[in-house]
């Protein structure tokens, strides 16, 4: 008779890849309870959630539109977490990138796109980077916990946005709280006519590829991964922990800022109060689901984009509140986190 024991050791790689995939049906099982409570059929709901959005071309494209900022916030968070820096501030860095891009887009009057678009990209990146800077410096210079400071920076930038939109940037004619429209030369081009799909998704895919390359194929990536595993160990190995971590934190902030620039330059063409509504926090979900691997993040961002789109379909077709999407996303995060605990165990056959 064969016997099995469970021991504390890293699980095999195939197991770790499988866990987020197992998490999906488990999540749907749990969330079907609240669908039943609403008196709807969970199977129909999940058909509308996951299949229906992909069945029509326009809604499939909308999935990509929704995924665009998520790819970037997911990559931003994964990059930071991989390097041992707990950046909870992607939401705020996204806003800072959006503010900065809205500013750049307004002042560059009559520029051709060849100048305007790179300027928006740089503007968004620098905005996010600047917003990530105080927490990063405090972390590496004084050892101040970055979780709390990045979280608080999110709240501050919301107030700054509200100040700008109700003060200097308020439309003097309509009194509408939105910034002036950005110049045509700074708008991201549409990729397909009559859709909202814009150049931002190409930018996002490039960022995913670059972050994968940096993490896995450069000496900088090796250093940041070492720090992510153990700061003490990395220091012992002669890695300049503070300098590397500062760079990681700032790049992460910059990437999140790009997400904000993309929403301004590709979707809204103004800065508005609700430019994000949680995209930065979804980035944390996506980074976790993707196992902090940029390609995993890519898949997770598309999946969360699908859930966001599907939630609207479910709401429109079945009258189930659109917030089902939020419940599914957060349940998926918690289930995945719980299943990841199994990563630390492996089952061994005892002879």
């Amino acid at each position: 008779m064969k016997k099995f024991t469970i021991e504390r050791a890293p699980a095999p790689v195939w197991m770790r890849t499988l866990l987020p995939i197992i998490a999906i049906p488990v999540t749907f099982l749990i969330t079907s309870i609240i669908i039943l409570l609403d008196g709807a059929n969970p199977f129909t709901a999940y058909y509308n959630f996951l299949i229906a959005p992909l069945a029509s071309k326009s809604s499939a494209i909308e999935v990509l539109v929704k995924s665009t900022p998520l790819l970037l916030t997911g990559a931003a968070v994964a990059f930071a977490f991989k390097g041992g820096y707990w950046n909870i501030g992607a939401e705020g860095q996204l806003y800072a990138g959006a503010i900065s891009a809205a500013f750049v887009g307004t002042i560059l009057v009559d520029v051709p796109p060849i100048i305007g678009i790179p300027a928006m990209i740089i503007g968004g990146f620098v905005g996010g980077l600047i917003w990530a800077l105080p927490s990063a410096i405090l972390k590496v210079k004084l050892g101040v916990d970055e979780v709390v400071t990045t979280l608080l920076m999110n709240s501050i930038v919301l107030n700054v946005t509200s100040f700008l939109l109700n003060g200097p940037w308020r439309n003097p004619v309509s009194m509408w709280p939105q910034s002036p429209e950005i110049q045509p030369g700074t708008m991201f081009p549409q990729l397909l006519p009559r859709t909202r799909l814009h150049f931002g998704i190409i930018l996002a895919v490039l960022v995913i590829l670059i972050t994968w390359f940096v993490i896995n194929r450069t000496s900088f990536g090796l250093k940041m991964r070492a720090i992510g595993l153990s700061k003490e160990g990395a220091r012992f190995a002669g890695i300049k922990v503070n300098k590397t971590m500062l760079t990681v934190a700032l790049i992460s902030g910059g990437i999140a800022g790009l997400a904000g620039a993309g929403e301004v330059a590709g979707i809204h063409f103004h800065l508005i109060d609700a430019i994000s509504d949680g995209l930065g926090y979804s980035g944390i979900i996506i980074a976790t689901l993707g196992g902090l691997n940029p390609f995993g993040v890519g898949l997770a961002a598309l999946f969360i984009g699908l859930i966001d789109t599907g939630a609207q379909t479910v709401s429109r077709v079945m009258g189930v509140p659109v917030y089902l999407g939020d419940v599914v996303q957060s349940t998926l995060l918690l289930v995945t986190l719980s299943l990841f605990v199994l990563q630390n165990y492996r089952i061994r056959r005892v002879k």
């Binding site: 916990d145 003060g167 509140p321 419940v327 918690l334």
Partner: protein, 305 residues
């Protein structure tokens, strides 16, 4: 006379603004002193605000609403315990996940119960206590909601529980050095779980105060970052219950002042004033250096070998 009225009104408003913060921060204090940073606070307060309102609106009893909020808060605390204590997953991500889940469930259930009406549903909220007759100039200060008085009374009570009782000693022990606590025969998991459940209940009452007392209705922006303010206040308070009062009052005072100046037509970039507590906290954190009084085992999952 006008200035007296102004100051009386200001103090009265300050107490009202401070109330939910006092509950939330005391709740977070229990969690953090036991070694768990509970970023689920923002969502737990939202869940408390919603559950309190929904139960009160459907049963017609404000007290049942409050009880419902407390139970919902305990559940949120237990879920945090399952994830961060039993399973030992990353506290930041688990807490944020709970905030997202609690917010999502509340919004979903609100739509299911109340539909999508243009006019937000409302309830008759708790009355203010009539301690002084309305003619007395100090009446606005003394005539507050019962929950405000309970909140203020909780501060010395929580201080006493944490620093003077056996249970408080256990909480501090598992928050400072879980290995030693375990060696001394304490059940680290159980104590942290209890602290999180109590913490969740307090956070939820903070949220329920908004719907059951202050506003009498539920709106989607009702908590509006108050949970994050509590995370800030606890650092500002240096993890000490009595300092929570000063922190909450200062924040409440700034908020009340800007509201008042605004209604007087004085143009101020009040949004920037609203950022002050966050900025002050970041500065306080910096001055405190390496988290002088933070519980030593904060953020560290405990694994029994």
């Amino acid at each position: 006379m006008d200035s007296v009225l102004f100051i009386v009104g200001l103090i009265a408003a300050m107490l009202r603004v401070a109330t939910p913060l006092i509950y939330g921060t005391l709740g977070e204090l229990f969690s953090e002193r036991a070694g768990v940073l509970n970023l689920g606070i923002e969502g737990t307060m939202f869940l408390g605000a919603f559950t309190g309102f929904a139960v009160a609106a459907t049963t017609g009893s404000l007290w049942l609403g409050l009880l419902g909020a407390i139970l919902a808060g305990i559940l949120a605390g237990l879920l945090m315990s399952l994830l961060s204590v039993r399973l030992g997953v990353n506290q930041h991500v688990a807490g944020l996940g709970i905030t997202l889940l609690a917010t999502g469930i509340s919004l979903f259930a609100f739509r299911v119960i109340f539909g999508e009406s243009k006019v937000p549903p409302s309830i008759e909220s708790f009355p203010m206590l009539q301690i002084l007759p309305d003619t007395n100039p100090l009446a606005p200060i003394t005539n507050q909601y019962l929950l405000t008085f309970i909140g203020i009374a909780l501060i010395p009570l929580v201080w006493w529980i944490i620093s003077k009782t056996r249970f408080g000693l256990q909480i501090r022990a598992v928050g400072e050095n879980p290995e030693a606590a375990d060696a001394a025969g304490l059940n680290v998991y159980a104590i942290r779980t209890r602290a999180l459940a109590i913490g969740g209940a307090l956070m939820a009452v903070g949220g329920a105060f908004l719907t059951l007392a202050q506003l009498g209705s539920f709106t989607f922006g009702i908590v509006a970052g108050r949970g994050w303010v509590c995370i800030a206040l606890i650092i500002f308070a240096n993890w000490h219950a009595v300092n929570v009062l000063w922190g909450a009052l200062i924040f409440g005072g700034v908020q009340a002042l800007q509201l008042r100046l605004q209604t007087q037509g004085i143009k101020l970039p009040y949004e920037l004033f609203l950022s002050l507590p966050y900025v002050v906290t970041i500065i306080a954190l910096t001055i405190a250096g390496r988290n002088a009084s933070a519980p030593s085992a904060l953020l560290k999952a405990y694994r029994r070998e």
